[in-house]
Amino acid sequence: MIPKSKQQISPKITAAVLLSVLVMVQWLWWRGLVTKSKGGDGSGRPNQSLATGVNIPVVIGRKDVFVETLAGAPEPGDTDGAGYRAQFDTPMGLDFDRQGNLYVADSRNHRIRRITPSGVTTTLAGSKPGYADGTAAQAQFFLPCGVVVSPDGTIYVADTGNHRIRRIKDGQVTTLAGSVSGRADGQGTAVKFNLPCAVTYTASPKPLLYVADSLNRRVRILDLDGSVTGGWDVPGVPTAVLAGNPPTVAVPQAGAFLSGTKTLRNLPIDLGETEGKQSDFTLRRPLSLCVAPGGWFVTDAEQCGVFYVKEGKAFLLAGRSHGHTPFPGWEDNDGHRALFGQVSAIASDGKGHLYVSDTSSNCIRRITLPEDLGGRRETLP
């Protein structure tokens, strides 16, 4: 009898082991864990993941962009105050009024907050979670995720958890449309939404709102009298609508922006000097967008940064893109070194600044753009 240790290993087992090793190496290669990059910081050193120390390709933002925290800090809370003293909890939708005040759908605080141009945060409306119309202080919202301000200063809120669109005017909160969850057109309470998560105002062809009705996978058209008469279906959950002719819709589940009949899917991220696999670096889950010179400024659920999209390509402005691996953090600096958490909504003040809700860092960040993207050279008086 041959001793067990001297028995020959079956060729089938050998082949299976070799195949497994090959598949594993290929997977690692595909994940970018065994590739090296030249280094996006210009130092010639390979970019390293701070978390693992493993060399992986990293696309890093621009040095001529500056990122700062306008209001809030990573500590969740609901305190009003200036700058870092203010606290938010999972801020999402953003929009400006004509005076330059920024409104924030402070979702887990169930409130709508206002940030003045000097950076002082106050609570505009909302208190405990629930559903109640009334004065701004008494009104209740439930996980509001979207907000928009019309030119006359009326604020419309996508009151997501309550499946309603609310209106704030002259210190009073009323319900424009919606009741229980569902899908129905009509007027006022006859309308049914299913977790409406974003709302956009347009003045053309007539003043109305576009509502990203998330679980109905549909953009609804809401007249300012509270009636919903139309809309269009999209292939996934819509998370933002940019007014225009035609409007553009972000559909992260499809990895796409939809604009009329045009679909921009999985836009490639410009790699610059980074040696990475282009298929690893795409906008796979675009969340929100706003108008930019010749394109859009965009956020993506899987990338902890802000992008400029032009001519079918995405350029990282600030933050980091690690391909398939998000690299969240919170650091104010130039766009090259700044770190973001999960960013969701994005808005522009039209004066050379972008504002993003850094949802997982519980704060609102301000990005000063370079001159080629509408930024203005700051001069001392």
Partner: protein, 355 residues
């Protein structure tokens, strides 16, 4: 008479005086025994050994409790006392445990099923109270009930798109004698939570969001009211403690440190809702312990120390421990020590009274 003359002094003492002498003798013996015990506790006394490093160490009812986890042993809940050491529970994973009202509760997983269990504090009479394939979290025993957190499914399935619509945590309670779990409140928190305990009619709960930079919230949940009140929020993943007096203690990154946190502060919220910073510049990664000498912060690093909750304008001073030992944990009037030069394969622990 000689006999009579010999017994005369004894008779003089009288019956009452004999009783007095006996009482004095008894008191002396008791005082001697107490002094001996104190003397023995003033020196490290061997508690026991274990081959897996313990986590979540607590002292209650004259015993040390902890849990540990390895690939080989799985998750275990251990108890060690003067009568010896015992494995109270063993499972694929054992996520937490709590002591209260003479009972011991814990949450374990076997296969895909999670179970909430309850036993006497010595581990006897274990019984299963609740089973689910979704993980129940945290646990507390108070006022004849057991409390824990269940995760409620997300409003939106793809919650990565809407963090605020991600799963929420439901606070539930159940009678210690069993029955159906009752819903107590909802917390709009998506990840982990921990029940700190009940004081008066108010539950204290800590929650964690692990996505970097991470955050921590402390909630008070008045029983019978639907709305939890967030009383503190911090960056990073803090540790927290509810004392018997109802004070909440927690750790937070030190504001004195620029850049990545390398030191922490210890904060307190008293029962009236006043918050204050007690200590600053404490080492990272510690644990909070309630003792007869006040709240202590135990640094779990190599060469760990115990720090009393002090004043924020003073540099923290660790408690003195005998040469050759490090402080591992504390509870009631004792601290748990380990030899400074520990064997990596076997951990030996000693206890001694707190200074």
């Amino acid at each position: 008479m000689p006999v009579a003359s010999q017994s005369a002094p004894f008779r003089a003492i009288g019956r009452f005086h004999w009783r007095l002498i006996a009482l004095v003798l008894l008191v002396s013996i008791a005082a001697f025994a107490l002094a001996q015990r104190r003397k023995s506790l003033a020196q490290p006394r061997l508690v026991g050994t274990t081959n897996v490093f313990p986590i979540s160490i607590r002292h209650a009812e004259d015993a040390w409790y902890w849990r540990d986890q390895t690939k080989d042993t799985g998750g275990r809940l251990m108890r060690i006392s003067a009568s010896g050491s015992q494995v109270i529970a063993k499972a694929d994973a054992l996520s937490c445990y709590a002591l209260g009202e003479g009972k011991l509760g814990w949450i374990e997983r076997n296969g895909r099923e999670w179970t909430v269990l309850l036993a006497e504090s010595d581990g006897s009479n274990p019984r299963s109270l609740y089973k689910n394939t979704a993980e129940p979290m945290g646990i507390a025993i108070a006022q004849g009930r057991i409390y824990w957190l269940n995760r409620v499914p997300a409003l939106a399935r793809d919650s990565g798109l809407f963090p605020s619509l991600s799963p929420t945590l439901e606070v539930v309670s159940m009678s210690l004698s069993g029955g159906k779990p009752n819903s107590v409140a909802l917390l709009y928190e998506s990840e982990d939570g921990e029940m700190l305990g009940l004081h008066g009619n108010v539950l204290a709960i800590a929650t964690y969001r692990r996505t970097l930079p991470g955050s921590f919230c402390l909630y008070r949940v008045p029983l019978g009211e639907a709305f939890p009140v967030r009383v503190a929020g911090e960056r990073g993943l803090s540790r927290s403690l509810l004392t018997r007096d109802g004070d909440l203690y927690w750790t937070a990154p030190s504001k004195e440190v620029a850049g990545p946190p390398t030191a922490i502060t210890l904060r307190r919220l008293d029962a009236n809702g006043r918050a204050e910073t007690l200590s600053d510049w404490l080492p990272l990664s510690g644990e909070l312990y309630e003792t007869t000498e006040g709240v202590l912060y135990g640094d779990r690093s190599i060469g760990g120390s115990l720090y009393p909750a002090g004043r924020s304008d003073q540099f923290p001073e660790p408690l003195a421990v005998p040469v050759g030992y490090t402080a591992v944990a504390a509870g009631e009037g004792l601290m748990l020590l380990a030899p400074a030069k520990a064997d990596s394969a076997q951990f030996t622990f000693y206890e001694m009274s707190l200074p």
